[in-house]
């Protein structure tokens, strides 16, 4: 039950960079408005970052990206996408994804 120093730094650092974008617009936007290009740029950030993270998760093999070793996750991503589009529910998508991977790993043990 201890908190290591490097883990503590990571937690505090990530907490600060998460806290600022959460509160800053609420605190200052009553005084001035973001320029239009900034709003437009920001509106694409969720899509870019999520797509990049999905790619990284599906193709990664340790710290490197590899196309050869991660067939199960690549395969599981396809039904997971369809379920997300169909149900529009984060919870159902996560549960379905977990079950698909569990079944695939059972059928094709590494």
């Amino acid at each position: 039950m201890e908190v290591r120093w490097d883990v503590f730094l990571i937690i505090v650092g990530t907490a600060i960079v998460t806290f600022i974008p959460r509160v800053l617009p609420l605190m200052v936007l009553s005084r001035f408005q973001l320029p239009e290009w900034a709003t437009k740029w920001l509106s694409y950030v969720p899509i870019s970052v999520m797509a990049a993270l999905v790619a990284q998760e599906i193709f990664k093999n340790g710290e490197n990206i590899s196309f050869s070793t991660n067939h199960v996750e690549l395969l599981a991503a396809i039904p997971t996408f369809f379920i997300a589009i169909k149900t529009r529910s984060l919870l159902v998508t996560v549960l379905a994804g977990i079950i698909v991977v569990m079944v695939l790993r059972f059928l094709f043990p590494a």
Partner: protein, 244 residues
């Protein structure tokens, strides 16, 4: 003057009906989501080698599902502290938009009280709040706190419960639990695309992000690849929108 006072009182009355307790109640439909994802995050964090105390601290002060998953995954891959913090910054930059969208409803509050409203903002609580705003044209501060605090407590409880259970799960991969993160990103990606009316442009931006993330990762670390892909793809999206 009497009339003006009456009107002010009527507005104040209707706002008082949106109590803290009503906020708690309106949070209930999202609780199952917090519980299951928080639980999965706790298991993953535990199997990534974090202690219960570290997991508790993380859910209490970081309080962001995807960020907690990613931080745990990057710690396993022994990424540097700076890379982890920069990646989380970009992952959570979307809160700028959520916070900016809520700002007009809380203009009457002081900066400090606005800070309290924003400090527990999540994708889900934003979704509930913006729906409420669409229905009533205002959001009550007390109601917002009820919503936020209920979600926060549930997340922390589920996260710590998952951490305790994680001690007994020796192989979370076999149960597919590691895929919870990927599935959540897929879900968030699809949901954010479906909520806008820019599907074609969004798909182009997403494909560019995937290609850059994969391409850049062969040169840089994969977490730096995500940062580079985010900056490039968002810029291309912005430029495409200007051209139109």
């Amino acid at each position: 003057m009497g009339l003006a006072n009456d009107q002010i009182e009527t507005v104040a009355d209707s706002r008082d009906k949106d109590t803290f307790l009503q906020g708690v109640k309106d949070c209930v439909p999202t609780l199952l989501g917090y519980l299951s994802i928080g639980f999965a995050a706790g298991v993953i964090e535990r199997t990534a080698g974090l202690s219960i105390a570290e997991i508790a601290l993380m859910s209490l002060i970081l309080y962001a599902g995807s960020a907690q998953f990613i931080a745990a995954g990057m710690m396993v891959a022994s990424s540097s502290i700076t890379t982890i913090i920069i990646t989380i910054f970009f992952v959570n930059l979307r809160h700028l938009l959520l916070s900016a969208a809520l700002a007009p409803y809380f203009r009457h509050l002081s900066p400090l009280r606005n800070m309290l409203v924003g400090s527990l903002l999540t994708d889900e609580s934003f979704g509930v709040a913006i729906n409420e705003a669409a229905k009533k044209n205002y959001i009550s501060e007390k109601w917002m706190h009820g919503l936020n605090i209920t979600a926060y407590l549930n997340w922390c409880a589920a996260n710590i419960a998952g951490a305790f259970l994680g001690q007994w799960i020796s192989n979370p991969e076999r149960l597919g639990l590691d895929f919870a993160l990927t599935a959540m990103f897929i879900g968030l990606l699809v949901l954010s695309m479906l909520s806008r009316k820019k599907i074609a442009r969004d798909v182009v931006v997403a494909i560019i992000a995937v290609v850059i993330a994969v391409g850049a990762s062969s040169v840089l670390s994969s977490s730096m690849g995500v940062i580079v892909a985010t900056i490039f793809a968002s810029t291309i999206g912005m430029v495409m929108e200007k051209w139109k």
